[in-house]
Amino acid sequence: MATIIDMPKLSDTMEEGTIAKWNIKEGDKVEAGDIVAEVETDKATMDLEAFDPGTVLKILVEEGDSAPLGAKLVILGEEGEDISDLEGDGASAKESDGDKKEEKKPSEDKDESEEEESSEDTSEEADEKGADQKSDDGGRVKASPLAKKMAEEKGIDLSKVEGSGPQGRVIKADIENYKGEAAPAAAEKKDAADAKPEKSDAKEEKAEAPKPSVSGTSMREDEDLKVSQMRKTIAKRLAESKFTSPHFYETIDIDMKKAMAVRASLNEISDVKISFNDLVVKACAVALRRHPWLNASWKGDVVRLNGDVNIAIAVAVDEGLLTPVIRHTDQKGLRDISIETKDFAARARDKKLQPQDWEGSTFTISNLGMFGIEEFTAIINPPNAAILAVGAIRDVPVVEDGQVVPGKRMKVTLSSDHRVVDGAKAAEFLNTVRKLLEDPASMLL
């Protein structure tokens, strides 16, 4: 009689384990208590013990591969035993630890009694049972198609809704009764508006805020504006970004005195006007080449360190905002960056940008300095791993050699996707940007 060693739960938070090393191979005999493998959990590497003796008939997961809780790892038995019906889907097998089994029981019993009572066909119920079990895997949120659609329309994060259907399926009633945080999409929209004010948003705000009036009645009716395709896309992508990528923020203050002087002298000789933003773009491009982890994308199984440095510039237009991309930014001079940026801004306002103009970015810069915004945080523009929010250059008192003197400072805030970038990496990048802007001549190196 064959027995199976499956992936045990080795820590409270463990969802899957990686076989760091097999101590056995097929054909080996093992005794109860033998350590058959080392399993890497999310916290540590632990020994995997055999509880039954037997010959190793089949190893179902290769060294280095991961498997979810309960997945079949090894089939033990007697030599020559037919195990073809046990092999099945090794790594994708359902979790089967003790607790879960007990939870499952009542519902299985129920299904059986239903089968006896109901004249409905049995094959259908079997199908349904199978489907239910499958969708239990991988922390997927179970929701009826209707509930999914309603949640999307209302901007409700399904994972926050408690489902009252079978095995926690979220259904229509759950969405209707959901009283959690105010619809995140709306909040998101506000965030987006904070980050990138646009004319249309300003209009909406005006519409929402009734002017004070003597009689106490509203001067203006509420107005529901139809959501444009662009705004829908912005809402969806930014919500996706904010809810799926764990953002963290780091702010640094940059002395812009030298940058201002350099810009002034450059503009004396340049045929196109170089802006502070152009300097920031150039500094970021140089810094990204030195810090590839900031020029990266989260791809689920892998982190992609992008080969090209393509910086997107957030441009506000009436309907929302666009992020045209300056390709190979690190290989371009300030003059080219300036010309391209101006061209993009003009074409964005005229709605002349093409999809290829905003695809393929590896990093994004959003600058609200011209609006006098001192500092702000931006939402990462997927699939980028980070975005830099640039504030205004302010006149501030600074202490130099024990004297308070006038200084020029600019705050920049980096939002990073913590799945890709760690705090120290982000800080190193920001320091490079700071050094480059505080001594612009170093960008020439």
Partner: protein, 326 residues
């Protein structure tokens, strides 16, 4: 309006059409001298004579073929099967000739024929006399398949079927021949392929045809006492099937139970369930459920038969499943 039995309105429909069009005639086993196995043709021989009311030998393949040939030559035959369980003997004529000749002749040859007779189970007639064929005939393109649930629908639809230029399979639920209903005295026809919303509701859609419509109706009445409002749809025609009415309803109620007397696999309920998920996926709050007879032949034993045929309780259970009430 007069109260009429299902069998009487079938007879009236045939007689009215024979009166109206001399090309219409009826044949089958014992339709003439014996006045019909279920008395659906009672009195027709006396009224129309032996040239138009014809007794046939026990030879389904033979007289079905005779009917197809007559239709090809411009007559409008009505072929009665003593039960559709015997029609399987003549199946070649139904699905290879009647269903396909118009197609294979490029539309040149019409087949205005109606095959009619009792369908589905009656009490204790055992396995070979209890099959509900609507899923089978619905499968074949070229055949119109009608499965009415009451005398009013049966009369209007049978008259429309006799006037249609395509072969029609007209299934009469065997247990309903004695069912009475008020039927208008004046002539009326019902459109083929149009479902009827028999009862409006907001919580769940039930689609039920043939005699199981009445099972579903009883379930709906009981559920209503419990606060669950059923929207009950009777498709009336199996092919073409009025999906539009069903989809519209499912978009309103978000849940659906299909009740049908055929076997489940590849049956009417399977098809309706499939089409709902294709057309109304984003409106579903629960998987579509179906209530059918089980995937086994009919038992003879009374107790087993009662358990085999869907009951109002089965329908209520399915509704409780799709409304997450159990």
């Amino acid at each position: 309006m007069a109260q009429k039995q299902f069998r009487e309105v079938i007879r009236d429909a045939i007689a009215e059409e024979m009166e109206r069009d001399e090309n219409v005639f009826i044949m089958g086993e014992e339709v003439a001298e014996y006045n019909g196995a279920y008395k659906a043709t009672q009195g027709l021989l006396d009224r129309f004579g032996e040239k138009r009311v014809i007794d046939t030998p026990i030879s389904e393949l033979g007289f079905s073929g005779l009917g197809v040939g007559a239709a090809m030559n411009g007559l409008r035959p009505i072929v009665e099967f003593m039960t559709f369980n015997f029609a399987v003997v003549g199946m070649d004529q139904l699905i290879n000739n009647a269903a396909k000749i118009r197609h294979m002749s490029g539309g040149q040859v019409k087949i205005p024929i109606v095959f009619r007779g009792p369908n589905g189970s009656a009490g204790q007639l055992a396995a070979t006399h209890s099959v509900a064929y609507e899923s089978l005939y619905g499968h074949f393109p070229g055949l119109i398949t009608i499965h009415p649930s009451d005398p009013y629908d049966a009369k209007g639809l049978l008259k429309a079927a006799i006037r249609d230029d395509n072969p029609v399979i007209f299934l009469e639920s065997e247990q309903m021949y004695g069912m009475k209903q008020e039927v208008p005295d004046e002539e009326y026809l019902l459109p083929i392929g149009k479902a009827e919303v028999k009862r409006e509701g907001s919580d769940v859609t039930i689609v039920a045809d043939g005699k199981l419509y009445h099972v579903a109706k009883q379930a709906a009445e009981e559920l209503s006492k419990d606060g669950v409002e059923v929207e009950l749809i009777n498709p009336r025609t199996i092919k073409p099937f009025d999906m539009e009415t069903v989809i519209k309803s499912v978009k309103k109620t978000n849940r659906c139970v299909v009740v049908n007397e055929s076997h489940p696999f590849a049956g009417v309920a399977a098809e309706v369930g499939f089409q709902i998920q294709r057309e109304a996926f984003d409106y579903l709050d629960a998987p579509v459920q179906r209530v059918t007879i089980p995937d086994v032949p009919a038992p003879f034993s009374k107790k087993l038969f009662d358990a085999w045929l869907p009951s109002p309780k089965n329908v209520i259970d399915a509704v409780n499943t799709v409304t997450y009430r159990n």
